[in-house]
């Protein structure tokens, strides 16, 4: 600390120089004040801004879906049976009840392409009337059935062209594929189709109830370009006339609904049984739709109820249609359903003109409102999930939809969710999916559970050890020894967790698996040997004992414990041979039915405990040492012995500090990452067994976030996980800090 000596200022012109110097110094001072205040404030604000940033990344997950109407477009006056739009939202194609598919440009409402579905293959150009029609799923096209017993499907192509750097989309409606459903000319009551590259399958229902399944494959000759169409027919029996139909993309399942409220399911792979399996649903079924992935069937009924069904194995291993999700009931009959091509979203339209967007997996209603136009007969979701098309005779009403994360929601994160293919609702984390069609499962509960389990086991191990050693160090140890012991334990805190994790995962885990019995044995033998050594130490002549400073016993116990450990390891093999048929773990598996994973909670608890012990120790030791000396002296002066003073005076006084030590240890354990990644096996299972692995929030973030595309639901869900960690540790640490400050004030008064 050196200071510039007072300057031997010259007397002359002193006032002027001194004044200017003073001004300069004042300015300097003011500038420093501004810089430090602004800079420091900004740094603190930006550090705290981390929280805001995390929140900002998470908020879009919970934002509700926004729907706005765009300007309506004038459409041909025929009643539209179905509608579809292209990816870019430039065109709408309508299938009219007059048998003509028309492509309409959204910009100006012009009809840019037209194609009659019937009467192209032969000369009788009858304009048939359609009884039913729908858009294909996953591909652009329509299928329709006519009043005179025919069905047809047509594919539509949107082609992008670049002219002078401007891209334009042109629409081509291909020539339809047509066939006869009912040779007698009865009306087709329902039809559905699936198109896959060059083959199309159509299933159509006749008025007499029978179903006809036609698969037509177009074969193109490579050299001549000539196309031949191969048709194959199959008849499916049905007891009652079918009102609506759905066909899956693999052409393995056909679903139908009758007017009396029966849900029919034909399993086309089942060669023995052509008859449908019938499920009585109740109110007449008015709409059916298969969602992306062809697993979930959404059923809309006359009374407005909306449910979804899955094929699941029930009693006896037989596949059955099971009702998996109930959506809130609509106010009137569900008349139209439209699935999304991107995810499990679907649109539902009720007879009273209410439009609803739902997410099937979580039964979340994304949006509900009155449709802006009346008498809607066609409903479609835009391929990119960014819009809805409504159409009636004469008008097309596009809606803009903003739903960035429909699969998110508190229910999806924390509740049990019934995922496709699962026998019951479950908590599942399974972020990566091979294809678009599989659902991602964002259940955070197993990860929260894993975090808590790991924390609990590590604290069970660390808290007693840390508190006891802190008490011993502060109360029973001579200060000369303490000067060495404290840094030694603090050194433990500096062990990088990746090193601890490596030791736990690659060194400790195989050894514990081999000599597992040592763990419980040492748990008993360790304390016993310490007690024995203490008792023997007490018998030593007091002259000898007083030669060592207080607390040397702790150093001695290192040797005692090392001996006990060696002893138990030597004892392990013979004991296993004698009592457990040679191998404790296989005995445990065979007799108790407990499976043992090599990377389990015992290993993890030990390793994380080692990481947490020094944290708790440091704060607890402080708390013990800060108990005012006067209190201890008073207690001793009144005749209480050392131990009595510790338990009745020191511990109660320090207890808030001990609480804060445990809280800080808790915070450290909750956020521990590398040890969990390396020593836990990373299996997101949920049970309390000591002998299996787990996956924690932090480990999950570390391993998965590099693969998450920026801005996706997956990415934001991991941000939510980080926010949860932040919140939990922040609360725990704040509680600890407040308690500690309170304690410090209390001691200051004593």
């Amino acid at each position: 600390m050196t200071m510039d000596g007072p300057p031997d200022a010259p007397q002359k012109s002193a006032s002027a120089t001194a004044l200017s110097r003073l001004t300069r110094r004042r300015r300097q001072d003011a500038a420093a004040r501004v810089i430090v205040t602004c800079g420091g404030g900004a740094i603190i604000a930006s550090v705290l801004g981390i929280l805001l940033f995390l929140v900002a990344e998470v908020i879009p997950l919970l934002q509700s879906t926004q729907v706005e109407s765009s300007a309506p477009i004038a459409a041909p006056s025929s009643v539209p049976l179905a509608a579809l739009g292209d990816e870019g939202g430039t065109h709408v194609v309508l299938l009219g009840a007059d048998g003509i598919a028309r492509a309409i440009r959204r910009r100006d409402g012009a009809v840019v392409a037209e194609q009659a579905l019937f009467g192209t293959s032969d000369d009788d150009a009858i304009t048939a009337t359609f009884t039913c029609g729908s858009a294909l799923f996953g591909d652009y096209g329509f299928v329709a059935g006519s009043a005179d017993g025919r069905a047809a499907s047509v594919a539509i192509r949107f082609e992008q062209q670049f002219t002078d750097g401007v891209s334009t989309i042109s629409v081509r409606i291909e020539s339809p594929i047509e066939f006869v459903v009912d040779p007698d000319g009865g009306p087709v009551s329902a039809c559905a189709a699936s198109a896959r590259q060059l083959s199309t399958a159509i299933v159509a229902a006749r008025a007499d109830g029978a179903l006809v399944l036609v698969e037509s494959a177009v074969e193109q000759n490579l050299f001549t370009g000539e196309r031949t169409i191969k048709n194959s027919n199959r008849k499916l029996p049905s007891a009652a006339p079918v009102r609506t139909l759905a066909l899956d993309g693999r052409r393995e399942n056909v679903f139908g609904a009758t007017a009396d409220g029966c849900l029919l399911w034909w399993n086309l792979l089942d060669s023995e049984n052509a008859d449908p399996r019938v499920t009585v649903v109740g109110a007449p079924i008015t709409a059916l739709a298969l969602l992306l992935g062809d697993q979930t069937l959404v059923v809309g009924q006359d009374d407005g109820s909306l449910t979804s069904w899955n094929r699941l194995q029930r009693g006896g291993g037989r596949l059955q249609l099971v009702r998996t999700h109930d959506f809130p009931r609509m106010r009137s009959a569900v008349v139209r359903l439209a699935p999304s091509w991107r995810d499990r979203t679907f649109g539902a339209l009720a007879a009273d003109g209410t439009l609803r967007l739902c997410y099937a997996t979580t039964t979340r209603v994304l949006w509900e409102g009155a449709a802006p136009i009346q008498d809607i007969t066609a409903l479609a979701l835009a391929p990119k999930n960014d819009g809805v098309l409504l159409a009636n005779a004469g008008t097309i009403q596009p809606l803009r939809v903003q739903s960035r994360h429909p699969e998110a929601g508190l229910g999806a994160f924390f509740g049990k969710v019934w995922y496709e293919g699962y026998p019951k609702p479950e908590h599942i984390w399974q972020s990566s999916s091979g294809s678009n069609e599989a659902e991602s499962k964002f259940g955070l509960t197993p990860l929260l559970f894993g975090t808590l389990k790991a924390t609990l086991f590590s604290l069970l191990f660390a808290v007693p050890l840390a508190l006891m050693s802190a008490m011993y160090t502060s109360q029973f140890m001579h200060w000369k020894l303490k000067r060495w012991v404290k840094p030694a334990v603090e050194l433990m805190a500096s062990l990088p967790s990746v090193v601890l994790g490596f030791l736990a995962g690659l060194w400790l885990a195989p050894r514990i698996a081999e000599f597992f019995i040592v763990v419980p044995l040492f748990f008993v033998a360790g304390p016993l040997s310490v007690l024995l050594a203490g008792w023997l130490g007490d018998r030593l002549p007091s002259r000898l004992r007083h030669r060592f400073p207080d607390g040397t016993a702790a150093l001695g116990s290192i040797g005692v414990l090392a001996l006990a450990l060696t002893f138990t390891i030597t004892l392990a093999r013979p004991l296993e041979s004698a009592c457990f048929g040679g191998d404790f773990l296989s005995w445990m598996r065979d007799s108790l039915g407990i499976a043992y994973d090599q990377k389990n909670c015992v290993v993890l608890g030990l390793a994380m405990g080692i990481a947490v012990i020094p944290v708790i120790f440091a704060i607890a030791e402080d708390a013990f040492s800060n108990v005012p000396r006067s209190l201890v002296s008073a207690s001793l002066a009144l005749g209480a012995d050392r131990w009595y003073t510790v338990t009745r005076v020191v511990v109660p006084t320090a207890s808030p500090g001990l609480f804060s030590a445990v809280m800080i240890g808790f915070g450290r354990a909750v956020g521990e990452t590398m040890i969990v990644v390396m020593a836990s096996g990373n299996t997101p299972v949920m049970d309390w067994s000591l002998f299996n692995g787990l996956r924690s929030l932090s480990a999950n973030i570390a391993t998965e976030i590099p693969e998450a595309p920026e801005g996706s639901t997956f990415y934001r869900t991991l941000f939510l996980a980080a926010l949860l960690l932040f919140a939990v540790t922040f609360v725990a640490n704040t509680a600890a800090e407040l308690v500690r400050q309170h304690l410090r004030q209390k001691y200051a008064r004593l």
Binding site: P496, T673, E737
Partner: protein, 537 residues
């Protein structure tokens, strides 16, 4: 600090339960110390013995087959159908080599099957660039078909040749990384340059030198691979090794302890300065060590001014009130927020936010290949700076608070402004506190892995973040890190058992780095406390 008071009276008969509990507490402390000592000893022993040249033992089985290798472990085991009343037999785990011939590294030998074992003086341990180690006996050294040396002369000839090959390899490496690297770098720059006109000439020139250099390197490589060493393995097979692909060869069995010690030290040094080989499972850790140190250095450059400024504000300039108390608690608590949370923030804010913006503004020609919009050493350093800034703030504040009020008031009374007082009086006095904070921050940053896994660490970085191309320090490059090296080699490599010793050695290096810094910080802090404990009175 006062010595803890002894009971005023002679120790009376205390109840046994109380004493027993005190013993248990002592035992708990002893157990903690045992854990620390045990871990340090475990890592030190395993890490250091990795470099020790072990004996090569030749085992001859009862059926006459032979196996040459190092003894890796011995244990008692339970053979199938073993009589429980008899003592368990021993078995030996042999760490072999010759991966391309045998396919396995480790083999358990039942001691009862071994007829005899010996340590032949002429058994050779070869460390190769590829395929791991080789164990065998030297037959002859050839160049093409010409026999250069055979029999007893072969070994000295091979040793000399290997020495020369070292230089040849170094020359090639210098060409590749120096001139050849420059040409490649120029070509890449030309590819990205937006003005096409004057480039064609440049391009042609660079292309020509590219071809010329490639030819030179190819010629050198041919010369390097000219000689071959012909070995016979323990099981009698002949094996030809290119001398140019041999890193070291030694006959461990004939070495005395001192010579082994020399080799041990040499290997240890080589481990620190060599590049990794065989996807990190062999060779050295230099890039990881360098990456760790550089990243920590960059982090300190960022964290020191930030932390000190914030602490100065909190302690010296801000009005002490409820708000500052809340901020102080919040900053304190940030030190306890899990590091992975900072990693997530770094990814979202630095990498995708700032990095993505920088790419769009300045590196648009390289898009969609990201330059700063992906993990890199700068983002890693900044993320860790955020992670450690609370540590520096808290320690600096502690240091500032320890400066007695009287000193400040004295300075003010002499007419110094607040700035002058802070700059000339308070900060120098608080310097040890700041230093402690910085060292603790560095120690924490050096051992931190989880956040770096998502903001810029890679398994194998193609180039160091520092080289001789302007701007010399490439902050956008990905880097290697000791901690991630441990995780990656220990858990992601195909043959974990064989790489474990290397991981122990890496862990030891990391541990020495971190523990040394922590010890320095602890000592500094203790001295600081003592100084003010005495001067504050």
């Amino acid at each position: 600090m006062k010595p803890s008071p002894h009971p005023p009276t002679a120790p009376t008969k205390r109840p046994l339960s109380g004493r027993a509990f005190a013993w248990l507490c002592g035992g708990a402390l002893g157990f903690n110390l045992l854990l620390v000592i045990g871990q340090l000893a475990l890592i030190a022993w395993n890490g250091l013995s990795y470099f020790w040249p072990h004996d090569l033992v030749e085992f001859v089985r009862v059926d006459g087959t032979r196996r040459l290798g190092e003894v890796h472990a011995r244990e008692r085991f339970r053979p199938d159908g073993h009589d429980a009343t008899l003592e368990l037999p021993w078995r030996v785990q042999v760490k072999g080599a010759n991966r391309e011939l045998t396919g396995t590294d480790f083999e358990w030998l039942d001691v009862r099957d071994v007829a005899r074992s010996s340590t032949p003086a002429n058994a050779i341990h070869v460390e190769r660039l590829e395929w791991g180690n080789f164990h065998g006996y030297l037959g002859e050294v050839r160049r093409g078909d010409e026999v250069l040396a055979s029999g007893g002369a072969a070994w000295p000839a091979l040793e000399a040749l290997i020495e020369r090959k070292h230089e040849a390899r170094a020359a090639i490496a210098e060409l590749e990384q120096g001139d050849f690297g420059d040409v490649n770098y120029e070509l890449e720059q030309l590819r990205l340059a937006p003005q096409r006109r004057e480039i064609d000439a440049d391009q042609a020139r660079q292309d020509a030198s590219f071809v010329e250099l490639s030819e030179r390197i190819a010629a050198l490589r041919t010369a390097l691979d000219a000689e071959t060493a012909h070995f016979i393995t323990a099981d009698g097979r002949e094996s030809v090794q290119t001398v140019g692909a041999i890193v070291h060869a030694l006959r461990p069995n004939e070495l005395a302890t001192l010579a082994r010690l020399m080799i041990w030290a040499k290997r240890l040094l080589a481990f620190l300065v060599d590049e990794p080989r065989e996807s990190n499972t062999e060779g050295g850790i230099f890039p990881a060590l360098f990456g760790t140190v550089l990243m920590v250095f960059l982090m300190s450059v960022a964290v020191v001014p930030l932390g000190v400024l914030a602490a100065l504000y909190l302690r010296e300039y801000a009005r002490q009130g409820l708000l500052v108390r809340i901020v102080r608690i919040a900053v304190n608590n940030l030190a306890g927020v899990p590091s992975i949370v900072f990693g997530v923030f770094g990814l979202g804010f630095f990498v995708y936010g700032i990095g993505g913006t920088i790419d769009q503004l300045f590196y648009a020609e390289a898009l969609p290949q990201p330059t700063f919009g992906t993990g890199g050493i700068l983002w890693a350093a900044l993320t860790l700076a955020l992670l450690t800034v609370p540590v520096v703030i808290v320690a600096t504040e502690e240091g500032l608070a320890a400066v007695p009020r009287a000193v400040r008031e004295g300075s003010m009374a002499l007419g110094a402004t607040k700035f002058e007082t802070t700059w000339r009086v308070v900060l120098p006095a608080a310097a040890p506190g700041m230093l402690t904070g910085v060292i603790l921050a560095i120690a924490r940053a050096a051992g931190e892995v989880a956040p770096l896994m998502i903001v810029g660490m890679v398994k194998l970085a193609p180039a160091l973040p520092v080289d001789h191309h302007a701007p010399f320090v490439h902050l956008d490059r990905k880097f290697m890190h000791l901690g991630f090296h441990i995780f990656d080699v220990g858990f992601q490599s195909p043959n974990v058992e064989a790489t474990k010793p290397l991981v122990f050695a890496t862990a030891l290096v990391l541990l020495v780095l971190v523990v040394a810094m922590n010890l320095v910080a602890i000592r500094l802090r203790n001295r600081l406390r003592q100084r003010y404990a005495s001067s504050a009175v």
